[in-house]
């Protein structure tokens, strides 16, 4: 089945994502930032669906919007935000930060305008529809990338222990 109205939905979700991202870095209240980040993540999951990556889209919704953001909201609940909301919102080196970010943006613009022909600019192919997506990912994940998968599980174990050690009052 060929997709319908792809440009419209691409620009819609891109706009939602960028507005959500701008809201994340401009809101004074961290709770509002977290909710805007959830909106941006859901829009990004929609873009994954448009790229024929339904498994990654599901992981994005369940793990990011459902798991990591709940963790963020819990921590916002634990630390008191009233005082920091009344203070100024930009750190002491924000001028240098803006300069560095502008330089990075100039680099991106230069790369994407000058190197447009190097980057693949033909239309996205539809061949991805042929294979079952989750099965392909599982075959790669438990075959070719088995070692990296085990390292990732070890990383999660280290992160669990680290988070408990950090957050505990007395070991």
């Amino acid at each position: 089945m060929a997709p319908v109205a792809t440009p419209f939905f691409f620009y819609l979700f891109a706009a939602i994502m960028l507005i959500g991202g701008i809201a994340v870095i401009t809101r004074r209240n961290p709770v509002h930032s977290a909710l805007a980040l959830i909106v941006a993540l859901l829009a990004q999951a929609s873009l994954y669906l448009m790229l024929y990556a339904p498994f990654v889209a599901g992981v994005q919704i369940i793990l990011y919007a459902g798991g990591i953001m709940v963790l963020f909201l819990f921590v916002i609940m634990l630390v008191s935000i009233e005082r920091s909301m009344k203070e100024r919102q930009f750190n002491s080196q924000w001028v240098m930060g803006i300069v560095a970010a502008t330089a990075l943006g100039g680099l991106f613009i230069a790369v994407y305008t000058k190197g447009k022909d190097i980057f693949p600019d033909r239309a996205l192919p539809l061949s991805a529809l042929e294979a079952p997506n989750t099965q392909s990912i599982a075959t790669l994940l438990y075959g070719q990338y088995m070692f990296a998968f085990e390292i990732a599980s070890l990383l999660l174990l280290v992160a669990i222990i680290g988070a408990v050690v950090m957050a505990k009052k007395r070991i």
């Binding site: 870095i25 992981v59 392909s136």
Partner: protein, 116 residues
């Protein structure tokens, strides 16, 4: 106008670059540690969008070059990046709670205990 209406891999790459830039601005200028961590999540998501877009592009390559419909290497990498983001968020927020217990603040300007 014709190139605007024809969604290619480059569109996704430019969107990813814009999101990355937003995340960088947030990390470099905001004062609240929680929002800095959320900006790092934005950066990781921009990378993920690039990875999935390239994965889709690669699926259209001929199979003799390693492409084909089942070559979803970029999506596997995106899953690894999401795992990494989960670990990073857990450890970062743990550090944040420990820091808040000691200094009663969430401002990055006051995180200077190791600075001489």
């Amino acid at each position: 106008m014709e190139s605007m209406l024809h969604i290619t891999t480059l569109h996704y790459l430019v969107l990813g670059a814009a999101l990355f830039l937003l995340g960088v601005i947030g990390v470099l200028t905001r004062r609240n540690v929680v929002i800095v961590l959320m900006s790092i999540e934005l950066i990781l998501n921009a990378v993920n969008l690039n990875l999935v877009a390239f994965s889709h592009y690669w699926q259209g390559m001929p199979a003799r070059l390693g492409g084909g419909a089942t070559a979803v290497h970029g999506q596997v990498f995106a899953i690894f990046v999401i795992t990494d983001a989960a670990a990073e968020a857990a450890v970062g927020l743990g550090i944040l709670i420990a820091f808040f217990r000691n200094k009663e603040t969430v401002n990055v300007d006051e995180i200077n205990l190791l600075k001489w």
